[in-house]
């Protein structure tokens, strides 16, 4: 014996009713009672966070303004550059002095050799005449 199923809720529903049924099913429902309070709390929290960030930023700006940071960086750069230049100049002066001394010694040696050759030439000339 086949069991005949009782009609489902929608078998008996007129298709024209669907619109009305959907309207009822999808009508507005009350929001949870805490929703508005939660939103307002989050708004205040966000505002506080923004204010705190702004204040922190301001404090940092007050302590370390950009112009001051720039001046410190420029001073450091100038000091390092001056040091490097001075050091380079000193080493150049030392090398120049060493070179001058070497040239003087070389000239002295050459002069001595010339004197020596001149004396030999004179001695040889005196012997011939």
């Amino acid at each position: 014996m086949s069991q005949r199923r009782s009609p489902g809720p929608l078998d008996v529903l007129d298709v024209k009713d669907v619109d009305e049924r959907l309207r009822r099913a999808l009508r507005r429902t009350p929001a949870p009672p805490r929703l508005a309070d939660s939103v307002l709390a989050r708004v205040l929290e966000a505002q506080d966070a923004t204010g705190h960030r702004a204040r922190s930023g301001q404090a940092v700006r007050t302590r370390w303004p950009v112009w001051r940071l720039t001046a410190v960086a420029a001073s450091l750069l100038l000091a390092v550059a001056s040091g490097a230049y001075y050091s380079h100049r000193r080493s150049e002066e030392v090398r120049a002095a060493e070179a001058a001394r070497d040239v003087r010694i070389a000239l002295e040696i050459t002069s001595e050799k010339l004197n020596h050759v001149q004396q030999k030439v004179r001695a040889l000339g005196a012997r011939q005449f």
């Binding site: 489902g8 078998d11 309207r23 999808l26 507005r28 508005a36 708004v43 966000a46």
Partner: protein, 176 residues
């Protein structure tokens, strides 16, 4: 006119006025989210995010009507994004279908819950169209503006969704 005044006061930084706006529209926003995402907790999250965004966007709103339009638009888009991001799609099992043995009366909570679940099975965009149509009683042209869709796309979503809902209703009714 009153809505415009409240908006102006909220724009001037009056927290009480903003609270009035939230209380006035919370049911609309929460219901839209609830019917589209089909999850009360997620709907509450969406509603909170929408109102926070509203607070940040107050200066751009021109009137009470603009505010309502803005809320519907942002809520719908947030819900659609959320569904697409989480891939949440309600699957209706046979066990979950309600089959009362008596014909439905004018107000049948079981049938209404069943219809809401059937709507929740629709794709995200179609779900938003059906919800805006039946919850907010909006015309296709208004829905098109809210969802950034051509009017013909809205109408085709409506036709396909209704055909799908009727087919499921008939199939569910005949199963078993």
């Amino acid at each position: 006119m009153r809505a415009d005044d409240v908006l102006v006061r909220a724009q001037a930084g009056d927290h009480a006025a903003f609270a009035d706006i939230v209380r006035e529209h919370q049911s609309m926003v929460f219901s839209l989210a609830c019917h589209i995402v089909h999850d009360r907790a997620a709907a509450e999250d969406v509603a909170q995010e929408v109102f926070l965004e509203l607070y940040r966007s107050l200066a751009r709103l021109e009137s009470g009507a603009h505010l309502t339009f803005w809320l519907r638009r942002v809520t719908s888009h947030r819900c659609i994004d959320r569904i697409r991001r989480h891939g949440r799609r309600v699957e209706l099992t046979l066990a979950e279908t309600h089959e009362p043995s008596v014909p439905p009366c004018a107000h049948d909570p079981l049938l209404e819950a069943h219809l809401r679940r059937l709507v929740a099975e629709l794709p995200a965009g179609a779900r938003a169209v059906v919800t805006l149509r039946y919850q907010e009683d909006l015309a296709p042209s208004e829905i098109a503006l809210i969802l950034d869709m051509p009017v013909n796309t809205v109408k085709s979503h409506m036709r396909r969704s209704m055909a799908c809902l009727r087919a499921k209703m008939t199939r569910n009714g005949r199963q078993g």
